[in-house]
Symmetry: C3
Subunit: 205 residues, 3 copies
């Protein structure tokens, strides 16, 4: 038996085989990667990671567990973390914060492009378009989104306040996107943010 | 002598040499590719192909002939069909429908990028921007446009209703684009859709 | 001692060492490249280059010197000119005009992409978006922007009137972008165009 409680999976200790099978079905994992030299060295409190998790906790009605990591702005390390969260952890969604600007150390989009099968330019366009309502420097963001197998990866800005603006702009399309790549079926708290699915794609319980 | 009637070229049987020369000048070909595993196997009626042709028949005042194909979501096959329509058939414009989403079998943009000399990002941006007025999942579309020699290739969505929305959004720029790559001179039915050309590029008869 | 007068650096002839050091600190160079077969052969007056310089003279309060070049639509030549202006001249900003359309000879974006470390898609999107308010053929522009080391490179349209429209659309983000790549600190004439910088990035004298 599996008991979900506030985004934490509690395991019952009997019948491991069945439990394994149910896990396969029920557990939705979401990856959160903070890319920041200073935060990874502890010189700086990671605000972006918690901001992404807090937003997701409000947005999702489905149960999910968080896989989180705070790493330096090193392309190889970002790629490795994305691959691990996608291929080993089986995250349906990975969001990153930081490293999307034009500075030399900003390499999150490069790492993301490298590990993705398909790039979805519409996410980047829509996030920049919304951010432009706040600051003209939104055009400097190189954040992208793409898919790796059944995982959707989305780069978010480093600034915590901008994280919510960007997620709000693209999240209505996220659950259906994950359906199409055969990831988990995500349900949203419609009062906070409402996922859009074509009628034929809506599961009724 | 050449007689055009409802987008069909009828050949007069005398003076083949002159006819050949006029053909060269007069015949405008437009390619229509439906990319769909199910439609190509006959499990599904192709609605996208006819929708694209019906739209074009309303939009163009110039005479043209259609070259149409319904093929599976196979990248090599899509590339081969695009190359044939561009290089052998000499189409000035090729429109595709289907295969632009994030799913594994969706490879139309990959095939298009592979055969194009130049990608015109403005088409994709504008089509997504207009589609976003209808559904938030418009950001999932990876449709692109580009040129191969004197042929303009435009990916359109699979959904018939979205085909018209996208064509309406970009078609005013299509005839001048084809002028610039030295394809056919297309004239539009201005009551339906009006092509924009800088003054110096307008031919008067 | 250095005397700046109307964007021209006048050198005092004493104390060359100090002068060299101050030069290093004070001199901001901006590159202007006109890409046009006809202008480079003298068959056509270069209007784009002067239009870009005139705009910049109105926009910038900081002192700067212009490095200008009129060249043919040859990819290798454009690349070489960009590299020289960036790496040898040390320009913090290079703007180009011409060669961004879909025609066969239009290769400015290809050359720019080739020499840049990072592409900033937001510039292209924003310029096309603004140009679309004027002409539907704005979607045909393939202009891009990117960074090479501490140099920001921006492609502008060939048409002089469109140059101002595009610069106006993106310039508020340009000075902060150049800060981030460790180029010169540019100050704008706020009555003409106002640079946006986050508070922590504003230098007070």
């Amino acid at each position: 038996m599996l008991i979900f409680k506030e985004n934490t999976v509690l395991y019952a200790d009997n019948d491991k085989e069945i439990q394994g099978v149910e896990m396969e079905k029920c557990e939705t994992k979401i990856g959160f990667i903070t890319v920041s030299d200073r935060a990874s060295r502890g010189e700086y409190e990671d605000l972006g990671g918690p901001a992404m998790q807090a937003w997701m906790a409000q947005a999702l009605k489905s149960n999910w567990t968080a896989v989180a990591s705070v790493i330096a702005d090193e392309q190889a390390l970002i790629e490795q973390t994305l691959i691990e969260m996608a291929d080993v952890e089986g995250c349906s969604l990975i969001v990153t914060t930081g490293g999307t600007g034009p500075a030399k150390r900003d390499v999150t989009p490069e790492a993301t492009a490298e590990v993705c099968d398909k790039i979805l330019d519409g996410f980047a366009e829509q996030m920049r378009s919304v951010s432009l309502q706040y600051v003209p420097t939104a055009i400097l963001s190189r954040q992208i989104a793409g898919t790796r197998g059944s995982t959707l990866i989305i780069n978010l800005p480093g600034k915590p306040s901008a994280i919510g603006e960007c997620l709000e702009a693209v999240f209505p399309a996220v659950p259906y996107c994950i359906d199409l790549i055969e990831g988990a079926y995500l349900e949203t708290n419609d009062a906070f943010i409402k996922a859009f699915r074509p009628k034929h794609a809506i599961k009724t319980s």
